[in-house]
Amino acid sequence: MAPVLTLEDVHTDIAQYHILHGVSLEVPEGGVHVILGRNGAGKTTTLRTIVGLWKARQGSIRFRGQDITRLQTPDIARLGIAFVPENMGIFGGLTVEENMRLATADGSFDAERLKRIHAIFPAMAQFWTKPAHALSGGQKQMLAVSRAIIEKRDLILIDEPTKGLAPAIIRNMIAAFREVAAETTILLVEQNFHFAKALGQTVAVIDDGRIVHRGTMAELAGDAALQSRFLSLSVEA
């Protein structure tokens, strides 16, 4: 079936630096798809380019056939693309509730979804009326993800959601993402291979602003050689 999102030979500059050297990528409909890669490889830059926070100098980005390369970030977002940035983008001055409210379409919550989010992340319920700057590092991460799933999105881009999360929470999150992935498509940037493995259907490995490997997760997970080639997984061994 037709891919949700297609990147073709995308080049991105940040200030005077040339960061992405032609990223090409296809995100199929539904499920979780993962981008792996070392620090500084260009994962975050790729995501930011998709949502228009960096502008691609060359190449095209198409969402459900529509070219969004030159669109403004807000317009891209309105197409139904949610973005969870690396720094979580929490509004510390606002309460948890206000943070969530801003992520809804019309300012009112879908009770069903809210209940589910509170189930996945109990802390959200506990701190509902507290200022978000008061949240712990991990709680901030949870809030960031909650914001992305409070509405039904078409595509959710998530940059390293497990960073600093306790194992138990990560487990919940896997469950949550499986659930969410049933109704939308998730593009996930990860460092935590196990997490990625547990969720991902397809995987792309990026290095120095280029895609160096594309394939199914199963294939990568099964093939130790590939793994050590693209992500020297020394520690785990």
């Binding site: 802390a123 949240l135 712990s136 991990g138």
Partner: protein, 256 residues
């Protein structure tokens, strides 16, 4: 252990509004020992760190550095006294160069900050030292870039380099490898291992990655809802029912 504790907290408590983020935590740490602090998100690990390094003032309880009560000291005073701290959410001098970031830490250690009529750049001693620590964290290559331009991972490393440069007796790391790729993390871990070799040093480490915990910990302290839940050797703590339930969760190993 006969040794006297290098750092010790006694009934340490802080409340935010009604909610006690850290609640009556008393425990002591010894030189040459690496303690990993674990606990679910929001357990109070970072807050407890903030209390020890002085970013927050406790609602109740005391903090001792050796025999000395440092509860009333300002963060800078504690830093001078030998408590070094790296932050969970990266916290640098963004517009200054990577080198300058570290050099400032060295200079603080050398206690030359208030010198009026010397040329900072002329104090080559400081600069060399700074370079040395950048090498250790293998950041020498990017020494001249503004800190803001580093990717997340390298920024984490810079955090650690600055901590080293402060040459403290107490090292406090808050999730140093968070957001680092699997092939970058080892650099940090080796650094920590090397620090550990000096028996006069006390190391506190907040970490979620179980493999890291196993690799480094001499001792594990578990915080939960701001309270001290467990404290002991890695093996036994990890084995505790309670801990598995509230922290690791069943089958957690697969994911961490």
């Amino acid at each position: 252990m006969p040794k006297t504790p290098s750092i010790r907290t006694q009934d340490l408590t802080i409340r935010f509004g009604g909610h006690a983020a850290v609640n009556g935590v008393s425990c002591a740490f010894f030189p040459g020992e690496l303690t990993v602090v674990v606990g679910p998100n929001g357990a109070g690990k970072t807050t407890w760190f903030n209390l020890v390094s002085g970013q927050l003032r406790p609602s109740a309880g005391r903090i001792f550095l050796g025999e000395r009560d440092i509860t009333a000291l300002s963060p800078s005073a504690r830093a001078k006294a030998g408590i070094g701290r790296a932050f969970q959410l990266t916290n640098l001098f963004p517009k200054l160069s990577v080198l300058e970031n570290v050099r400032l830490a060295v200079q603080a250690r050398a206690g030359q900050g208030h010198r009026l009529f010397a040329r900072a750049t002329a104090l080559t001693g400081l600069t060399d030292k700074a370079m040395h620590y950048l090498d250790e964290a293998n950041l020498a290559a990017v020494a001249q870039l503004p800190a803001a331009a580093l990717p997340h991972g390298d920024q984490r490393k810079l955090e650690v380099a600055m901590l080293l440069a402060m040459e403290p007796d107490i090292f406090m790391f808050d999730e140093p490898t968070a957001g680092m790729s699997v092939d970058e993390a080892p650099v940090i871990l080796e650094l920590i291992a090397r620090i550990k070799q000096d028996p006069s040093r006390t190391i506190l480490l907040v970490e979620h990655k179980m493999d890291v915990v196993r690799a480094l910990a001499d001792r594990i302290v578990v915080l939960h809802n701001g309270e001290l839940l467990a404290d002991g050797a890695p093996g036994e703590v990890m084995a505790m029912e309670l801990v598995r339930d509230i922290y690791l969760g069943v089958g957690a190993e697969e994911v961490a």
